[in-house]
Subunit: 179 residues, 2 copies
């Protein structure tokens, strides 16, 4: 494949990433999960701190418990797996930026392999329950997870939705100066 | 190409992303720049706020001015272009996470097209100068840029460096529970 073909294929996948919450709890192939974790592991970070641990949850009871603690991430209960991002507690501004970088790579690596995904937020009120469920110590931060799974039929339609969900290029881009 | 081939190609590019600061100031193809901006535009964000404007700087005087304001991002002076991420000022925690997501996609889209890149931080002391240079209003945040360019020979070696720069998979991944 030519460089142009390679570039086009990656751009196609970048464009195809969607937040899909309508998931089926089918188990995910282990190799696909490892490929996603490798993509996350390779994320760059400020001062190469790599301020993360990725906790992979497939246990149905634990997924249900996380969903119960995270009202906006109820879809986790139906996911094949969730990757919970456990972050170092210091330098919160840099760490939060790096957390976004790692989460995005998880979504992209999943999409590339035909696995549906959605970021979920664990609200402050739900974090003690998630810490207890997963054995996460106090000095670590936990806020973000990525649910992974097979899209249901309605989830697959979300995935194919037309491109009206983003501001136009000439709205979000300025050349040379902001104003 | 099969789905497996597609997935493998994307994973290859995700693994190939490197921070390359040894850049040459060659102009970048306009189409490649637009493809990178499209990848950034499509980034998902909390509540789909899309809290960003991407300012593309190619003017050599402006690039030199940004480099002067950002001691740790001196490489911008030799870049073909820089994309400055101008972010909405509210909801800083969510905005910073989303900023990381967009920056990561810029790096990936650049890498896919054979363009070298490196994130740069504009320190608080340098932000007034960058605001003045680019006409960025007070209510917006500006902190992050991505320098883009052609790697020098030494930059290209960085890019090919062996995989010793990240913690091993079994150090960064836990199965089912953190501890």
């Amino acid at each position: 494949m030519s460089d142009v073909g390679r570039g086009a294929e990656v751009l196609r996948v970048l464009r195809a990433v969607r937040s899909v919450r309508d998931l089926r709890p089918d188990p995910l192939p282990h190799d696909a999960l490892v490929a996603i974790l490798e993509a996350a592991r390779w994320t760059g970070s400020g001062m190469n701190r790599q301020p993360w641990t990725f906790v992979v949850v497939r246990d149905r009871g634990a997924l249900a418990g996380i969903a119960e603690a995270s009202p906006n991430a109820g879809h986790v209960a139906h996911a094949g797996a969730a990757i919970v991002l456990v972050m170092d507690g210091d330098m919160p501004e840099i760490t939060t930026f790096d957390e976004g970088r790692a989460a995005e790579r998880i979504l992209i690596a999943a999409t590339a392999q035909g696995i549906a995904s959605a970021i979920g937020w664990i609200p402050p009120a739900g974090r003690p329950a998630v810490r207890a469920l997963l054995g996460i110590p106090e000095e670590k931060r936990v806020r973000t997870l990525v649910a992974l799974g097979t899209a249901t039929a309605s989830g697959a339609r979300t995935k194919a939705a037309p491109g009206t969900a983003r501001r136009a290029l000439d709205e979000v881009v300025r050349w040379e100066r902001y104003a």
